[in-house]
Every structure is written in structure tokens, then in C-alpha cells.
């Protein structure tokens, strides 16, 4: 979809970028409750696994684990994400004691779709790239680089994420765990 480049488009693009950066800030500053407030109640948060397969007509279907059918890195809803936050906040979630130092850099922000249009958008689909750095304890250090497609929905004066698909682009996971939010 190609949105016309009018003032509404630029305003919307800025809104969306700012939302994504604010979200990154909330996570990096460990303001988890602020972050949860940015997620819609019906959120789908999905991160498939990827297999090494041959090129060919069905390659993509075989490459990714299938949503609502297979085992993934994540197929979550807001309830489980809230549980994950709650777990960290217990102070005895050992994998996050002490809490990781995390940096979210979001780039290549592209408005893929706005419905019904940019001026009066109720939902926006936005694609991006991310670099997420996790550093913990003395020398634990992991870098996650990948792609994300988010669907945002207008909520009051702001936005909420109602769907997030994360492509991590790893096969054997290179990190020891996935305590980080993407």
C-alpha cells in the first residue's frame, strides 16, 4: 500500500515513530507497567522459529513455524506478558536477578498501512528493524537483530500495539534465554 504523502501522513508517521521510541524507552528504563499500558488487551505477540530448508515453492511455509499450530519462541497474549512483568517484579526470578541492562534500537520504521486512511487512521501497520542489546551480570552480553511488524490501534489520545510479529533470524538461539521483551 502506498499512502499519499500529505500532511496527515507525516503527522501519522511522526506519531508512530514516537510511539515506538517511547515504548523502547519504557522498556529500557524498566517502566514495565507503562509498557503494559501500551499493549492492547487482545494483543498477539508472536515470534516463530526458523528452520534451514531448501529453496523452492513451499520453502517459506517450511522455514517458519506456523502460528496457532506449532511450537515457537513466543506465542503470547497480554496476560502472559503481564505475568512475565510480574515475575521480574517478584525479585526472585533468578534469570533476571539482577535485571538485565537492555537497549532497544528501532530503525527502518515504515508505515505499511493505515486504515481507513492516514488522516483518520484507527489502525496502522508498521514495519521496522531492531537491534536489542542485553547485558547482564559481569560479562553476559547478547545482541538480537531482527525485524518486526506491528499493528497499532488508536486508543484514546495514543496508540496500543494489538499485534506484533518478531522475526529474530536465528536458528539455534544464540542467547541463553529469552527474558527480553521485543
Amino acid at each position: 500500500m502506498n499512502l499519499p504523502r500529505d500532511e496527515a501522513y507525516f503527522r501519522l508517521k511522526d506519531e508512530v515513530e514516537t510511539f515506538l521510541y517511547d515504548e523502547a524507552e519504557a522498556l529500557d528504563e524498566r517502566r514495565y507497567d507503562d509498557w503494559l499500558a501500551m499493549l492492547a488487551d487482545d494483543l498477539v505477540y508472536f515470534m516463530p522459529m526458523q528452520r534451514n530448508v531448501a529453496q523452492g515453492p513451499h520453502a517459506e511455509a517450511m522455514e517458519f513455524t506456523r502460528e496457532q499450530a506449532d511450537i515457537h519462541w513466543f506465542e503470547e497474549d497480554k496476560w502472559t506478558l503481564a505475568k512475565r512483568v510480574e515475575q521480574i517484579q517478584t525479585g526472585v526470578h533468578w534469570a533476571e536477578v539482577p535485571i538485565s541492562r537492555v537497549v532497544h534500537l528501532v530503525g527502518n520504521v515504515r508505515l505499511v498501512d493505515a486504515a481507513p486512511d492516514a488522516a483518520s487512521a484507527e489502525t496502522v501497520t508498521v514495519s521496522c528493524r531492531f537491534v536489542v542489546s542485553q547485558n547482564r551480570q559481569q560479562r553476559e552480553n547478547y545482541l538480537f537483530v531482527g525485524r518486526r511488524t506491528d499493528t497499532l490501534r488508536r486508543a484514546g489520545n495514543g496508540w496500543q500495539v494489538c499485534r506484533r510479529k518478531v522475526i529474530l533470524d536465528q536458528n539455534v538461539l544464540l542467547a541463553k534465554n529469552l527474558t527480553v521483551f521485543f
Binding site: 528452520r51 517450511m62 511450537i71 519462541w73 502472559t80 515475575q87 517478584t90 526470578h93 533468578w94 538461539l173
Partner: protein, 443 residues
């Protein structure tokens, strides 16, 4: 065989084990030579290769293998390495093929491992005996209720002999929830990730370390089980409340933790969804109908020596703790459901499994943290002078069939695990490896 060194390192009679066995790279290599080349290893599930020509990548010890179903439907497992210069002959995690053609010089092998193509063979290899240069195949392969196991050792006893009394407990994970034999299937998608720990720590943990409950304080406090949305705390539903827990260790090195519930009365579970709750009640009733009093025995966890573990119910999974080096383990995990369970049940279980286990598993993350830094804490000259303490409930067990039964939380299963680890590293003959009472433990 450095028997004296091994005896000094592993003293299960006194319940002390040297930290070095979790850190020394030379012992790691001895493990690869003497243990992973002999023991039966879990390599996959039949459902991963349903059709002729199907293959899936697996591992045995540190080495890559391919599990294939040949054109006649027979399963094979091969080292994924060409006989010419060792190149990988299969470049994918899974697929279907007629032939594995090596990318380097194009030798090609059938799905039964036979060398079927050698470019310019007549001219360049006039005397070649093709039968001697097929893919390197495991010595024995066994399918047990869908799970696939293999060993490089032609002298190894049949898989079920190796499994011994642990079969009863593994069955509880593999059999259908309504008591039928078998009936489980593997969900697609294998978690694979690398934990900076020695492989023996998770293997030991799963063989019956019930004492590590405090590790999971965070999930227990907040509740993440199938009834958690309804307010239930704990990391799973309490189907074992009030049960007599059982820890059994077996010849061969296996150890399990199961439980005998007080009665066949049903405890309501899966409160978040009445349909699912009804389904499990139905399964329960069927199981009781089929198995009677035997239905009271319920699975929890277990380790099939050396590096395969299972989770029996919540979640229900099979684990491979693939050794990488003394300080790293590549964990593989796949999950089971009953093949004929309703989609709604499968969906609920699938999501519960993912939030419980694996790298994103809220429960397992805390295990991994402990394995990681327990391995780190085993390093260093001062640490090495202070062996680990394996004295929990020492001597508090009774003979039980071929094994030993404890009815209180115990490290006997761990002691049994390391006793067998030592026997393997000493290169003992198979009769000693699966003998009733391992010799060095004169009790």
C-alpha cells in the same frame, strides 16, 4: 582408563563429587569417547519423518546425525558427513529427498545410507567396494512409542533392556492421557538453544531433583499454570496434591520422579476453560477404567541416562542435553500432546508449554540460571578443593525391582547417575553398566 582419578572424583558412597567433572575439558572428551559412543541416545520422534524420503537433522553427543526414513519406510540414522572428505551431505534441518548429494565432489548416498553415486567411478576408483563407503550408520536404532533412540555400539543391549524399569515411568509420559498405550504426537518446532552449563547439571536436575523447588519461587508466587487466569497460584495445576512422591533410580543410570496419588478420585484441573476441564476429567475416568489402581501412578520427570529427559504432564516434553563442551550445552526440546486431543486442548497445552519451558519458559529460565552459574562456580583451584555435596537422604532407599526406591526427597537418583557415569568413563562391559547393583557402591 584413569580409574584412580575417577574414583577420587566420584565418591557416591560418601556423597561427595569433585567439581572438576563439570569443568575439565579432558573429562569432557573422555565422555565423548566412552559414554556418548556407547549409550542409547534420544534422537527424535517418528512423527518428524512420516513419509519415505523424509529426513530431519539430529545430534548424538557433539556430532550431527540425520534421521531418515528410506524408500521402504525404514528408519536410519547416519553421521552427517561424507566418507570422502567429511563435508556435510545434508544441509537442511528437514526435508524430503531421494538422495543426499555431497556438495564438494558429488558423491551421493541413498536414504538408506548406501553410496550410490561416485562421479567417474569406473575410471578413478576401479577397485572401490561401494558397500564399505556408505554413510556411517548407527549400530542400533529403536522406536519406542514414537520416540527414536540410537547407539553407536553394536554390543549395547536392546533399547528396552537398557531402559529397564524406567520404562514404566517413561510410558506415563508417552501414553495417552486416557490410559491407552502410545497415542502421543510431537508438536512441530524443536526448541534449540545454548546454555552455558555442563550437560550433566540439567540431566541430574531432571533425574529427580525435587529439592530445587525454591528455584521456582517466582512462578509459584504469581501462578502461570493452566488455571492461573482463574487465580490459581503455582507453576502448574496441583494434580499431585497429597500424593506420595516416589524417586526411583535404575541400573543403566536412569532416575525418575513419579507420584502415587492417594486415590483415583478426580481433582478438578484446567479451571480456565470448562471444555478443557471436562476433557481432562473424561481422560481421567477412562484411564481409571483401563488401568484401575495402576492409574494412581502419575508421571513427573525423569532422565534416561545419559542426556535424555522427560517432563510427564505439565508440561509434557522430551529433552536432549547435547554436550557442546565442558561449559556449554545445546538443549533441544520437543513437546507432546495426544494426537486425538481436541484442537482447543492442544492450543491450550501448546501455549502453556511455551510459557513454562524452553528459552522463553518462565520456569525453565530460572533452572538455566542455576545451571549456568553452578557450572561457573565449579571452576577454579580453590573451588576444586571442595567437592559438591550429594549426601541428601543418603542410604534412605529400598530395593525396588532392579532399582532403588526412595519415598522422601533424595539425591539417590543423582548418586546413581554419577555412579554410572563413572562406570561408562571407566569403559566397563555392558553387563556391569546395566547390572542390578553397580559394583563400586558396596553397601
Amino acid at each position: 582408563m584413569a580409574d584412580d582419578r575417577l574414583a577420587r572424583l566420584v565418591d557416591t558412597d560418601r556423597g561427595v563429587i569433585d567439581r572438576t567433572i563439570f569443568t575439565a575439558q579432558d573429562l569432557f572428551e573422555q565422555e565423548q569417547e566412552t559414554l556418548f559412543t556407547r549409550a542409547w541416545l534420544l534422537i527424535g520422534h517418528e512423527g518428524m519423518v512420516p513419509e519415505p524420503g523424509d529426513y530431519v537433522a539430529s545430534r548424538m553427543g557433539t556430532e550431527p546425525v540425520i534421521l531418515t526414513r528410506d524408500r521402504d519406510g525404514k528408519l536410519h540414522a547416519f553421521l552427517n558427513s561424507c566418507r570422502h572428505r567429511g563435508m556435510k551431505v545434508c544441509l537442511f534441518d528437514q526435508g524430503n529427498t531421494r538422495v543426499f548429494t555431497c556438495p564438494y565432489h558429488a558423491w551421493s548416498y541413498g536414504t538408506d545410507g548406501k553410496l550410490v553415486g561416485v562421479p567417474m567411478r569406473e575410471k578413478l576408483y576401479p577397485d572401490m567396494d561401494l558397500d564399505r563407503w556408505g554413510l556411517i550408520e548407527v549400530a542400533q536404532l529403536a522406536v519406542y512409542k514414537g520416540t527414536v533412540w540410537a547407539t553407536w555400539d553394536a554390543d549395547a543391549p536392546p533399547f528396552l533392556d537398557f531402559l529397564g524399569g524406567a520404562k514404566l515411568h517413561l510410558d506415563l509420559a508417552l501414553d495417552a492421557r486416557d490410559g491407552r498405550e502410545g497415542g502421543s504426537e510431537a508438536l512441530l518446532g524443536i526448541h534449540k538453544w545454548v546454555v552455558p552449563c555442563n550437560w550433566k547439571l540439567p540431566a541430574e536436575n531432571f533425574c529427580g531433583d525435587t529439592y530445587h523447588n525454591p528455584s521456582h519461587a517466582s512462578v509459584d508466587m504469581i501462578g502461570i499454570g493452566p488455571s492461573a487466569a482463574s487465580g490459581q497460584k503455582g507453576r502448574r495445576d496441583g494434580e499431585l496434591d497429597g500424593a506420595q512422591h516416589l524417586w526411583v533410580s535404575f541400573p543403566g543410570g536412569h532416575g525418575i520422579h513419579s507420584a502415587m496419588v492417594a486415590s483415583n478420585d478426580y481433582t478438578a484441573l484446567y479451571a480456565d476453560d470448562p471444555e478443557i476441564s471436562d476433557y481432562f476429567r473424561h481422560c481421567h475416568e477412562e484411564r481409571v477404567r483401563r488401568k484401575g489402581e495402576d492409574a494412581r501412578l502419575r508421571p513427573f520427570v525423569g532422565t534416561i541416562f545419559p542426556n535424555a529427559s522427560f517432563h510427564g504432564g505439565q508440561p509434557r516434553a522430551l529433552c536432549m542435553w547435547h554436550p557442546v563442551d565442558a561449559g556449554h550445552t545445546e538443549v533441544w526440546r520437543f513437546f507432546l500432546v495426544d494426537a486425538d486431543a481436541p484442537e482447543r486442548v492442544k492450543a491450550m497445552l501448546r501455549k502453556f508449554y511455551m510459557r513454562y519451558s524452553g528459552p522463553a519458559g518462565m520456569t525453565e529460565q530460572d533452572d538455566m540460571e542455576n545451571w549456568n552459574y553452578a557450572t561457573a562456580g565449579a571452576r577454579g583451584p580453590i573451588a576444586s578443593r571442595h567437592p559438591f555435596n550429594y549426601q541428601q537422604s543418603i542410604g534412605r532407599h529400598t530395593p525396588d525391582g532392579g532399582g532403588r526406591l526412595a519415598t522422601q526427597i533424595t539425591e539417590e537418583n543423582a548418586r546413581n547417575f554419577y555412579r554410572h557415569w563413572r562406570l561408562f568413563l571407566e569403559g566397563r562391559p555392558w553387563d556391569e553398566l546395566i547390572a542390578q547393583a553397580p559394583r563400586q557402591a558396596a553397601e
